[in-house]
Symmetry: C2
Subunit: 218 residues, 2 copies
Amino acid sequence: MTTKKQVAVILSGCGVYDGAEIHESVLSLLAIAKQGAEYTIFAPDVDQYHVINHLKGEPSDETRNVLVEAARIARGSIKPLSEYATKNFDALLLPGGFGAAKNLSTVAFDGPNCTVEGETQRAVKETHAAGKPIGALCIAPAVIAKILGDVTVTIGQDEGTAQAIEAMGGNHMTTNHGEVIVDEANKIATTPCYMLDANILQIAEGADNVVRAVLEMA
Amino acid sequence: MTTKKQVAVILSGCGVYDGAEIHESVLSLLAIAKQGAEYTIFAPDVDQYHVINHLKGEPSDETRNVLVEAARIARGSIKPLSEYATKNFDALLLPGGFGAAKNLSTVAFDGPNCTVEGETQRAVKETHAAGKPIGALCIAPAVIAKILGDVTVTIGQDEGTAQAIEAMGGNHMTTNHGEVIVDEANKIATTPCYMLDANILQIAEGADNVVRAVLEMA
């Protein structure tokens, strides 16, 4: 039996504009493994809000499923989020990308009045209720704030999103590259990553730091 | 004007079973940045051989374009491979994934009798003719061997692929996780990555090591 800490990672598709941000996702997985923990990847089995042609930056006339596309990042080793059980894990981690704001929630369209996908809401609520830590990167902290309300998080420096988080009942702290905000009472650790104009080294640093903060609370 | 070494990276889609392997791609980009060089991402503007549902591991009835899908890994910052000019770069790097064997070439289906996509062939031939180094991960070394013939490469320990490389006129060296074979005369550096049953830490090590070998020859 392994004694490694177990981290559940929720992906929201595969690609920054309509799914999980790929660099944040892969570098989160790498950070978990580097720090001696193990990951299991989940995604909700729902259609993406839409499909963006990442070359042109325009919507394309296709339908794709969040779980099926996230399986690309997971190399097929992924489970539907409905199978996530808090008791089997020490921590939960949500990388960013527009998928968090379009598929896991509607925050990209509805701001503070957004709704949250059902299994994502359940996973976050149950993990929090069990006193286990949750990490979130990029725009994903806004989803955490929508679900939990009075938590302190960061999405970096974007004023509109920061205001939306405050309107949801959360507290927003401004941060720069690689910085992590830890809400110790709620065991929430967040970092801005590509919500800032970042390069891949800064994403690796942010992923390392947020995973470290999460594992320290696990 | 920057003095950083410039590396062109050729992607073959987005997802291990029908495109570029995502971990190898992202960790190659990270390795390039960590080692003080810069990358520009390219992909051929051609349809994928097919689309694999990565959850089920089965073909799906869709058509996707290699350049458009690779743009997901590149966050939209990608160019058609037809725009690659050797004179603007110090080195060329090809991550793996079945995309190298299905989209950049037909090696997955035709073994030593495979054909190579036109722009991929041009890019590798011109880079080699200019005396600049080429790195390749996973199955991509087989594509290099098909194009250049008498070169020494590794794809790890898969006997069938090793025999195909020998039949193409290449020399195959058996390797384990993270090991790099350097053909100094031809300035070719190769490493097995997910051609072995590897974890993400081993992929990061392989990407670091092959990028280091390439940059030392650049």
